[in-house]
């Protein structure tokens, strides 16, 4: 009854996909890593002299930003690959990376103001390049996901998303330049002490580096999980039609 050829072609891979749990060893490893980082940041890393415990937020904020940039770069790259090879796996990976990237960007955008309000007395720091770029990246990735939700035809959706992914990547340097010029000309800021400067005591630096590693792995693990969810969704859509 249903499109038998397409079901047959994918049935070889669909059986394992159905049985296999979506959360794999990598994810469990990453999750344990996050717990370990929490423990280390809370109990085994010294409290910063002037900012108090709030400085520890930085161990979550900056690594999440790095992970988000990895995810979003992956979306841009797989978008190019899709336009070049028309492989639906590239499209699925682009979608998975974008969604995971949005989650990590949200973490950056929520921890940033929490930390900033305590330390600078201001909820939003427009002169903080990373925070402002992250904000606009959030908007672009959100638009990407909305477009994916709005287009029904799968091939058109993949093409539109790929175009948006590439254009979004082109946009980021312009946002960076514009905001940098904006804050440099209008708000010559004094040097802002950021605790992530290299002159960190070794324990803090180690926590930082470990946090970078853990969050990068968590990001990739989430992408793998989300990719599998995408496979399941496409299978479900196939069986329904």
């Amino acid at each position: 009854m249903t499109a038998a050829p397409t079901v047959a072609r994918s049935s070889a891979s669909s059986r394992p996909a159905l049985q296999r749990p979506i959360f794999d060893w990598l994810f469990v490893l990453a999750a344990l890593g996050v717990v370990a980082i929490y423990v280390r940041a809370i109990y085994y890393t010294p409290i910063e002299a002037t900012q108090g415990a709030a400085q520890k937020i930085y161990y979550l904020h900056v690594p999440a930003a790095l992970a988000a940039y990895i995810a979003v770069s992956l979306t841009a790259l797989t978008s190019i690959v899709y336009l070049w090879l028309h492989d639906e796996r590239a499209d699925r990976l682009a979608e998975a990376s974008a969604e995971v990237g949005l989650v990590f960007l949200t973490v950056v955008l929520t921890t940033g103001p929490l930390w900033g309000h305590k330390i600078w007395g201001a909820w939003w720091a427009w002169w903080d390049m990373r925070l402002t770029l992250t904000l606009f990246l959030w908007f672009v990735v959100a638009a990407y996901l909305v477009v994916r939700g709005a287009v029904e035809d799968a091939a058109m959706r993949a093409r539109f998303s790929a175009v948006l992914g590439i254009l979004g990547a082109l946009l980021i340097p312009f946002i960076h330049l514009s905001v940098y010029l904006f804050q440099a000309r209008l708000h010559p800021m004094p040097i802002v002490l950021k605790p992530s400067e290299p002159s960190l005591p070794p324990q803090m630096l180690t926590t930082f580096l470990l946090a970078f590693l853990v969050f990068a792995v968590l990001c990739l693990a989430f992408i793998r999980v989300r990719y599998r969810v995408g496979v399941l969704r496409d299978l479900a859509a196939e069986t329904i039609t």
Binding site: L83, F160, L171, S178
Partner: protein, 230 residues
């Protein structure tokens, strides 16, 4: 003897003329955008207390907010007019390249937006008590440069949005992040031009707009074929 199909530039110009001819016949979209822009200028005037910030100081920011949003209104129509009677199919069958279709639509949009802005700028001068002088020519130049960028991106996204169920919502959501560099730099450049500062002060901002225009006109022209049905 068979006529040779028009080259890309000629085809683009033909498409632009067709769109503008359609527009001129009814003029509703043009008049709506115009009225919206002028109304917005007036409404925004009341958003601030004039004794705290002088209207002339607010003018650049207000101008660019109004240009951006009236531009979005104007862009909405460029592909929606093809939806009626599936006009886009006729365009695709014609012996013109896909890129020519994009460029034609974009030029049509550019002329449309420039026409609206040609009324918006005098209205701004009127309502915000700006001095009339050569600085207005500088503002017009900034507006032209910025509108090229707005139109390049907006034309592509309106082609994409028209294929979805939520075109009116999707177009602003897609376009506005891309308008940010244009808007930011144009407002800053306009502030300096209106204040009578030397051109060199506005140049760093203008430079970014020009780079944006070049990059995105090329990128969107190349991307346009992917937004059409295969």
């Amino acid at each position: 003897m068979t006529a040779r199909p028009p080259g890309t530039v000629a085809a683009a110009w033909l498409i632009a003329r067709k769109d503008l001819a359609i527009e001129f016949r009814t003029r509703t979209a043009f008049l709506s955008s115009l009225v919206f822009a002028v109304l917005a200028l007036c409404i925004l005037y009341f958003a601030w207390d004039e004794s705290i910030i002088a209207p002339a100081d607010r003018a650049p920011g207000v101008l660019w907010v109004v240009v951006t949003f009236s531009g979005l209104l104007g862009l909405q129509r460029s592909f929606s007019i093809e939806e009626h009677d599936r006009g886009i199919d006729a365009l695709l069958v014609a012996p013109t390249s896909r890129e020519a279709i994009y460029l034609g639509k974009a030029i049509g949009n550019l002329l449309f937006l420039c026409a609206v802005q040609a009324v918006t700028l005098p209205a701004l001068v009127l309502f915000y008590n700006l001095p009339v002088g050569p600085s207005l020519l500088g503002v017009a130049a900034v507006m032209l440069l910025a509108t090229i960028g707005i139109v390049a991106v907006g034309t592509l996204f309106s082609a994409m949005a028209v294929n979805t169920r939520m075109a009116e919502l999707l177009l602003p959501m897609l376009s506005l992040p891309f308008f940010v560099p244009v808007l930011l730099n144009a407002a800053q450049a306009t502030t300096r031009v209106l204040a009578g500062r030397p051109a060199a002060e506005a140049w760093p901002w203008l430079r970014i707009i020009i780079a944006f225009d070049i990059v995105f006109v090329v990128a969107c022209t190349m991307a346009f074929p992917y937004t059409l049905e295969e």
